[in-house]
């Protein structure tokens, strides 16, 4: 019967959950080092291809543009492990704290 006082106490307590997608978006605690959607700086990239080589899920693909080789990141395949950020010799890739990456269109889920 140790449960009863606890149950009564909870009647007067604040709700533990948030009305997330509709309200309380700003109340979600996002810690400093969260691994979210990556951002890519084309100016720093030297096209070494290490990110594509070490990406565990094949989300980083090496393509050719007018300035030479560069990676394209497909977020729908990304694991958010930050291995690309770790191996990048020029710090061209950084993982931001943006975690809301779901969408209805796959073509939006690409970081160029």
């Amino acid at each position: 019967m140790a449960m009863l006082p606890e149950v009564f106490r909870h009647i007067f307590k604040k709700r533990a959950t948030l009305m997330y997608p509709f309200r309380d978006r700003e109340k979600i605690p996002v810690p400093e080092g969260l691994r979210g959607k990556m951002s890519f700086n084309r100016e720093l990239c030297i096209g070494c291809g290490l990110c594509a080589r070490f990406c565990p899920s094949g989300a980083a693909k090496l393509v050719e543009d007018d300035k030479g080789k560069r990676p394209i990141f497909y977020i729908d395949q990304c694991l958010f492990c930050a291995q690309c950020e770790e191996v990048c010799p020029r710090k061209a890739i950084t993982l931001t704290r943006e975690f809301e990456v779901a969408g209805f269109n796959r073509s939006n889920l690409v970081v160029k």
Binding site: M3, P31, G33, L34, C55, L79, F80, Q83
Partner: protein, 396 residues
């Protein structure tokens, strides 16, 4: 029309692989006599993912993240085991701060896993109020793991040569504060579990596993320790800094599902103390040793005490950037034969059909980690494990 006069004493009852009472894809074939289960057979091969084979096709760095995905809940144990294994090939000294961070994250993951299990067990018993309270408090640990590693579930903190990020002092303070809260709440949950008549009625004397049977059937982890066998890899074969961090191996002699609840709750207290010790005694210094990409030729086996029991990884390297062979043996696999023993009525000990979900939940099953293909070639007396392609070739 005549009524059939045939009378069968034993009936087969298939449960699963999809069943409302089971959260995991397990097929249980129960042979029942009336309401009593007299024999049980399990089939776990519904979630085979070919991870061992996939690991042979990827390089050692990519495999860290693949190993992490063997099991979502004990992902820290799997990466820890994998990284220790590959580091064993190099024969290299890992910085001691990295080892402390590894133990810190491992124990945080153990707290979250045991709390998760306590919630699931309460749900199986039919005590959903406790389930929701426990899972609400588990969120605090999840937030801590997110703060330390950068992700709630798949932490990706361990890497070959150490850990990937350092722990900040303010995170340590947060950890210590949260540990006080979790300790207080766990004390309360222990009191609830010990005094509540629902839990006692569903768990005491249910799923009996005698110590000699537990040892014979190679049970591991809390299932074994609830059968009064003092065995814990952290104590018996210390890895990382478990030889420096003090803790007690929890054993209970009740041999039943109730003992398994108490073992896991007491292990939460031990883990809380280990987290505190790690934070207080963490040395300064680097958190990572840089290693060459290709490990030397050789083989290595590593053991880790995952929240569910002893986890074994084996690697064979041929000097290239991909492992030649990788083998994983998860704790649930070892506990399955013990589960069949628990589900068998013997003498005065009877298992009712209604007890089956509770007994099944009491081993803390994680079946998608467990599913492996093993082929027994009886003509040549050889066992080997292979992919679907190899199976197809064999069939031809």
């Amino acid at each position: 029309m005549s009524v059939s006069s045939s009378y069968e004493r034993f009936f087969d009852i298939p449960i699963g692989p999809q069943h409302p009472a089971l959260k995991e894809p397990l097929f249980l074939k129960l042979i029942v006599e009336g309401e009593h289960v007299v024999a049980a057979d399990v089939d776990v091969s519904y979630t085979h993912r070919g991870i061992e084979r996939a690991m042979q096709e990827r390089n050692y760095v990519q495999n860290i993240y693949l190993a992490e995905r063997i099991c979502g809940i004990c992902n820290v144990a799997h990466t820890l085991c994998y990284c220790q294994n590959v580091e064993g090939l190099y024969d290299v000294e890992i910085p001691s701060r990295a080892l402390y961070i590894r133990v810190l994250v491992e124990e945080l993951a153990r707290i979250h896993s045991h709390l998760l299990w306590l919630g699931v067990a309460a749900h199986e018993i039919g005590f959903d109020t406790l389930f929701m309270y426990v899972w609400r408090d588990r969120e605090i640990v999840m937030d801590l793991i997110e703060e330390v590693t950068g992700n709630r579930v798949t932490s990706a903190i361990n890497t070959i040569g150490g850990v990937r990020r350092d722990v900040k002092p303010e995170t340590c303070d947060k950890c210590l504060k949260a540990m006080d809260y979790i300790e207080e709440r766990t004390k309360y949950y222990k009191r609830v579990c010990k005094t509540d008549p629902t839990i006692a009625a569903r768990c005491v004397g249910v799923g009996i596993l005698k110590p000699d049977e537990a040892v014979r059937l190679c049970a591991v982890g809390p299932t074994l320790r609830a059968s009064n066998v003092k065995y814990d890899v952290r104590a018996d074969d210390p890895y990382a800094v478990h030889d420096e961090v003090p803790f007690n191996v929890i054993v209970y002699d009740t041999n039943d599902s109730f003992g398994r609840i108490l073992v896991r709750i007491d292990e939460i207290f031990e883990s809380i103390n280990m987290v505190r010790y790690c934070i207080k005694h963490m040395p300064s210094g680097p958190v990572r040793a840089r290693l060459r990409l290709n490990p030397p030729v050789g083989e290595h086996l590593s053991r880790v005490e995952a929240p569910r029991g002893e986890l074994v990884h084996y690697v064979k390297s041929n000097g290239s950037e991909k492992p030649e062979r990788y083998k994983v043996r998860t704790p649930t696999f070892e506990n399955l034969s013990a589960l069949c023993e628990m589900l068998t009525s013997k003498g005065n000990y009877v298992v009712n059909i209604a007890d089956v979900p509770v007994v099944f939940a009491s081993i803390d099953p994680c079946l998608s980690c467990t599913s492996r293909v093993a082929i027994l070639d009886s003509e040549r007396g050889k066992i080997w494990i292979g992919s679907l392609e190899e199976l197809k070739r064999l069939k031809r």
